[in-house]
Structures are given as structure tokens and as C-alpha cells.
């Protein structure tokens, strides 16, 4: 039973990372920018969810508001921050991205308080189901279901819709895609909109799970998601999913062996270092060196 409990925990950790990291992967795949400020987008999603939920009395309303508002912010980051910097070396937009993350964290602190915001009504995070002795919370189920829907949806979208195929084409062969009449700028906006909407969902769900949104909520996910996209093979959506789940399970099972000496972040990064030493190109990448 213990091992199944840990598996449930690990899979829900992994799913959370996956929804968060896929936006990063998409941006890296398209623009070769390490979009660190994605963590601020995630945090914004969490804040919108909790604030709207508290104002309207509906958690679903909060999540929907986050999915609508956050992509606008994501697209604004592209338009106002990255686009003017794209002509420089990729580390220039990256530094700007770090700056935006720090700025946003302090903005959240100033606007919504140092102590963070909790849900007034959060029946979800206090609802748990006992399935044959295994405990799983309503939010964990929501996270796992969302991940399945998101990745299946992304797959169908990029395989069967015209715009989706165009998107994929732009990521892998930008010149050829342009010559086929695909507008690369539109694709970029689409990219930021989808990535940010997913970060918003992840932020909202993590907020519900913690029952707390504090200014630093994006911090852990920010550096962990970076590690995940490296491990997944930069720019690969499938690789990101696999890497996220592996990391989630390693964190969950790792506590059995070394829980007293190392916390879960340390376990995660130890595993990442080892995995990258074995496969520096990531799970799905091709070794180029």
C-alpha cells in the first residue's frame, strides 16, 4: 500500500511539473530562449485563481479567469520583452527574463501581501478519496486528469489541425514553414498563449493543493522546470512529459531511502545530475557532440 501511495504522489508531482514545463519547452523549441519568467506566469495563474475564486465564490470561475487572463500576460511578455531582444545573443533575453521574474515576485509581495493569500472556500483540497486503502485527493485527481487531457489535446492539435501542423512545422523547419505561407509571428503568439494557459492551470491547481499562494510560489517550479526540459531533450514535448514523471517518481520514492538527510529537492537534483551524466542529450535528444 505504501508503494502505491508513493506512486500516486510521484505521478501527481510529475504531472504538475509536466504542465508547468511544457510551456518552457514550447518557447525554447521555437525561439531558443530560456523563458525563466514562465515561473512568474505560473504565479500569476495562481494569484488570479485564488483572487477570482475568493471574489466570486467559485473555484471553477477562478481557474477559468486564470486561463483567460494569463495567456494575455504571456503574449505581452513576448511582444514587449522578447521580441525587441531577439536580435541579440540568446543570453540577453534570458537575463531580461530573470529580471522580470524577480520584479514580478516583488510586485506580488507589494500588491497582495507578504503572507500570501488562501482560498476562503477550498472544498477541493480537503476532499480525499480512499480507494482500497490508497488516499488520493480531489486536487491530485484533477492534476492527473488535466495532464492527460493537455498532452492528448496537444498531440491531436499538432497532428490533425492545420494551425497545429503549421506550428509544429515552424518549430522544426522555420524557413520551409514560412515558404508554405505560415505566419511565424502568429505562431509565436499562439505558442506563448498556449504555454501560458497551461502554466495558469498548473498554478491554479498547485494553489488549491497548497491552499496558499505566496509571492515565492513560482520559485521552486522555475528552476526545476528548467532542469526538466534539459533532461527531456530541449524542445521536446514528449521528452518533457517523460522527464517530469521520472522526476516526480524519483522524488516520491527517494524519501524512503534518504528522506532524513536530504529533502525532496535535493533528491531531485541529485537524480538530475546523475541522469545528465549518463545522457547529456536528455531522454529524447540526439547526441550532437
Amino acid at each position: 500500500m505504501y508503494y502505491i501511495d508513493l506512486a500516486v504522489t510521484g505521478v501527481s508531482f510529475g504531472c504538475m511539473y509536466a504542465i508547468m514545463a511544457v510551456g518552457l519547452t514550447l518557447v525554447y523549441g521555437l525561439l531558443r530562449i530560456l523563458h525563466i519568467a514562465h515561473a512568474a506566469v505560473f504565479a500569476l495563474g495562481a494569484y488570479v485563481t485564488v483572487l477570482v475564486a475568493n471574489a466570486s465564490g467559485s473555484i471553477l470561475g477562478g481557474l477559468i479567469a486564470a486561463i483567460v487572463i494569463t495567456p494575455l500576460f504571456g503574449m505581452a511578455i513576448y511582444r514587449l520583452l522578447y521580441e525587441p531582444l531577439l536580435k541579440y545573443r540568446p543570453d540577453v533575453p534570458m537575463v531580461a527574463s530573470v529580471g522580470l521574474l524577480v520584479l514580478m515576485q516583488d510586485a506580488f509581495r507589494v500588491l497582495f501581501g507578504e503572507q500570501g493569500v488562501t482560498f476562503r472556500q477550498n472544498s477541493l483540497s480537503f476532499t480525499t478519496f480512499d480507494i482500497a486503502g490508497v488516499n488520493i485527493s480531489a486536487v491530485q485527481i484533477a492534476i492527473i486528469v488535466t495532464t492527460v487531457v493537455v498532452f492528448l489535446g496537444l498531440h491531436l492539435f499538432t497532428t490533425y489541425t492545420r494551425i497545429g501542423v503549421g506550428w509544429r512545422a515552424t518549430v522544426s523547419r522555420p524557413q520551409i514553414a514560412t515558404s508554405f505561407g505560415i505566419d511565424p509571428i502568429k505562431v509565436r503568439y499562439l505558442n506563448f498563449a498556449i504555454g501560458s494557459a497551461l502554466a495558469a492551470v498548473a498554478g491554479g491547481l498547485v494553489a488549491l493543493l497548497n491552499n496558499l499562494v505566496d509571492p515565492g510560489i513560482g520559485f521552486v517550479v522555475s528552476y526545476k522546470a528548467l532542469a526538466i526540459i534539459v533532461l527531456g531533450g530541449l524542445g521536446s514535448v514528449q521528452g518533457t512529459l517523460v522527464a517530469s514523471l521520472v522526476l516526480g517518481l524519483v522524488e516520491a520514492y527517494g524519501t524512503i531511502f534518504i528522506g532524513a538527510w536530504l529533502d525532496r529537492d535535493a533528491i531531485a537534483f541529485l537524480a538530475l545530475i546523475l541522469l545528465l551524466m549518463i545522457r547529456p542529450q536528455g531522454f529524447t535528444g540526439v547526441r550532437t557532440a
Binding site: 501511495d5 493543493l209 524519501t255 532524513a260
Partner: protein
């Protein structure tokens, strides 16, 4: 050489500025507007800003209360506040500023250990009295005889927890969960070392990072341990999610938390799951005590939320400093130091301060609260002063 000359000229300007402010200071301390300055270091920005805000408001309330009652020695008390960001370098920088530019002789460091530890030697060397309101690192008081601490050290807090868990609650098998910073680990060491003496067997230990809010794997492991109780160290922002997740997994055994659980926000985050959580070294908020009630009302009005331990300790530290000045009948640091060292049965907001030991660590019983119907309710105290005695060197 251009850089050098630039540097030296800016240094020259600083000296001049310092001199000018000294002159101003001299003018300001003319008898007609006499003021006693108390240096006040708080983390106004950065990751400790949550506690810093509470500490700052509490310090201001204390100064206002002192002045409303006529000040001390016929003079008003003025807090000279600097943001130390709870960082060592900022603490040293602002300590030097307080000494050099503001001419301050008495200081309340209302910040984390990283600040207090760095500032203590600077103040000690300059013969400035410092009270650390809630810094828990042992090095703070070891810096010298001008240093005082108004907080139980981590290990005595942990020992008090072991006494309470073993003797009062009678729990035998305990799983421990600790945050991996100095305070969390020092407190946990106190607990695990004292545990066998009080019939407690620690069956498993877990640790987590301060940044973490997701404790699924620890929760699953504790569930497998099937302990009689859980002892955890953490701050309200980790403790809230931790307790909520433990309860959500169907774990019903008592949870005993360390002092830093002590915040209304903890109850807000953990919601109904907070019920029945014991908090060691908390304080009795509903005690019939005029000063306490007044402080609670005033703080809540200014801050918008009720005061937590940090706020209460900071208020007490400023009041104690003023009381020591009164008893010394002087604001001279040497005399104030001696008066502080001679403190006996002083009523802090948290309870009665019995006094300070040789190292200027406070001697005080450890009160315990339990959460009932969303409120902090007194649940006795650990009064075995020999067992929880702070170190003397």
C-alpha cells in the same frame, strides 16, 4: 589611479556627511527635545519581509506606548529603523551605520539569525547593547556580554517538546519532520537527544526544504510508520500545507509543532485540519492581561491581521530595553547592560521572564497551545527549568 581618487573622495564625503549628521544629532539631543534612540534592525524587504513587517509594526507600537506613558527618564524613545533584509552583509552595514552615523548605543535586532549573528560582534566591539528579539542562532549571545536574547534557543525548545510529548501527552512512538534550516535542525536535535529520557522512541525522521509546500511522499511514509504522534518543525507557510496534507491522508494521531507554527495564518491555511495541533513555545493569547489585550487590538488595527510570535517578541524586546533604561536610571550602554542582566520576573507579553543566565540567554517556562475550533487555546506549560536550561557558554 582614477578609481582610487574617486573612492577616496567619496569616502571623504561620507566622513563629512557622518560629521554633519553627528552635529545635527547633537543639536537634536538638546534637553528640550531630548530623545533616547534605539536602533532597530528589521527585514523590510526580501524573503523574511513577512516577519519583518510584523516586527516593525510591533516595534512602533511599543515605542508609541512607551512615549504615550511619558517616555523614559523624561525623554521620548525614538526607533532608528534600518532594513537588514535578514542578510549578514546588510546587518553589518546597517549596524555600522547605526553606530557611526546615528550614534546609537542601544539596539533591538528584530530579525533572523543571519542578521543577528553578523551584527552582534559589530555592536559588541562598539560597546552597544543589543537584544535579539527572535534570532535563534547560538552565536548571537556568544559574541559578548552586551548581547541578550529574548527567545528560547532551538535545542531547549526541542527538549521542551520532548518533555511535553512524553510526559504530558504520553506518546511513545514518534515520527519527526523537520525543515532543513539551522533553526529547524537545532530544535529537532534537542528533541531527538532528549526523547529517550521521556520514554519516546523516534521511529523515523524526515526533512524538507523551506521552499516546499508538497509533502506527499513524507505523508505516505508517515502513514506507513503508523506512529503515536508526529513532531514537526516549520513556519506557518510550510506547516499549514503539511498539516493539511497529513490530515487529508487520513492520519489522525496528534501533531506537535514547533514555535514557528504560531501564526493565525497557519490556521487559515490548514483550515479544519489545524484542529488539535499542539504548538510548543506558543503563548496564551486570551490571557486576561491588559497590556496583552491592548497590544493585540492596536497591532490588529495597524497591520490588518493579529500579531504572531515574532510581533509579540519584538514588542517585548523594545519594552524591556526601555524598562532597563529606567532601572539603570541612565541610557549609558554599560549601565543598561547591567540592568538587563539583573532583570528579574519581568512581565513580557508572552509570560513571565524569570531572568537571564550568564550567557544572557533568557530563563522562562515554555507555554503550549492547542488549536481548538480555529483558536489558540492554552494547553499547559513545560516548567522543568533545569531540563530546558539554556547553555551558559
Amino acid at each position: 589611479m582614477l578609481t582610487y581618487s574617486l573612492n577616496s573622495s567619496s569616502r571623504g564625503r561620507k566622513v563629512l556627511l557622518g560629521f554633519a549628521s553627528l552635529v545635527l544629532l547633537g543639536a537634536a539631543s538638546m534637553p528640550a527635545h531630548a530623545e533616547i534612540k534605539i536602533g532597530f534592525q528589521v527585514p523590510q524587504t526580501g524573503p523574511a519581509a513577512t516577519d519583518g513587517k510584523s516586527a516593525q509594526i510591533a516595534g512602533e507600537v511599543a515605542a508609541d506606548d512607551i512615549n504615550a506613558a511619558g517616555g523614559v527618564l523624561g525623554q521620548k524613545v525614538q526607533l532608528v529603523t534600518y532594513d537588514d533584509q535578514a542578510k549578514s552583509d546588510q546587518a553589518m552595514f546597517t549596524a555600522n551605520k547605526l553606530i557611526g552615523e546615528d550614534g546609537v548605543k542601544l539596539v533591538v535586532n528584530a530579525s533572523y539569525s543571519a542578521s543577528g549573528r553578523a551584527a552582534a560582534p559589530v555592536f559588541q566591539k562598539a560597546g552597544v547593547v543589543m537584544i535579539s528579539a527572535y534570532g535563534v542562532h547560538p552565536d548571537i549571545t556568544r559574541a559578548g556580554d552586551y548581547m541578550f536574547r529574548l527567545e528560547h534557543l532551538g535545542p531547549p525548545q526541542g527538549i521542551a517538546a520532548a518533555i511535553y510529548v512524553g510526559k504530558k501527552l504520553g506518546l511513545k512512538k514518534i515520527s519527526t519532520i523537520t525543515m532543513d534550516n539551522d533553526y529547524g535542525q537545532a530544535t529537532m536535535e534537542g528533541f531527538t537527544e532528549a526523547a529517550p529520557k521521556y520514554g519516546i522512541q523516534v521511529i523515523n525522521k524526515y526533512s524538507y526544504s523551506l521552499k516546499d509546500r508538497q509533502f506527499g511522499s513524507i505523508v505516505a511514509s508517515v502513514k506507513r510508520d503508523n506512529p503515536d504522534g508526529i513532531y514537526a518543525t516549520g513556519y506557518f507557510f510550510t506547516a499549514g500545507p503539511l498539516v493539511a496534507q497529513l490530515r487529508a491522508a487520513g492520519i489522525t494521531v496528534p501533531i506537535i509543532g514547533s514555535q514557528a507554527f504560531d501564526s493565525a495564518k497557519f490556521i487559515e491555511i490548514a483550515g479544519p485540519a489545524a484542529e488539535g495541533t499542539y504548538i510548543i513555545d506558543s503563548f496564551d493569547r486570551d490571557r486576561k492581561d491588559e497590556a496583552l489585550e491592548k497590544f493585540f487590538a492596536e497591532f490588529k488595527q495597524r497591520a490588518g491581521y493579529p500579531p504572531e510570535g515574532v510581533a509579540t517578541e519584538t514588542y517585548s524586546a523594545v519594552r524591556l530595553m526601555a524598562d532597563a533604561i529606567k532601572r539603570a536610571n541612565s541610557a549609558e550602554p554599560d549601565k543598561v547592560r547591567d540592568a538587563l542582566a539583573a532583570t528579574k520576573d519581568y512581565p513580557l507579553l508572552e509570560g513571565k521572564l524569570i531572568g537571564f543566565n550568564k550567557l544572557h540567554e533568557m530563563i522562562m517556562t515554555v507555554p503550549v497551545n492547542v488549536i481548538k475550533e480555529g483558536k489558540f487555546v492554552p494547553a499547559g506549560e513545560v516548567d522543568d527549568l533545569d531540563a530546558i536550561a539554556p547553555p551558559e557558554k
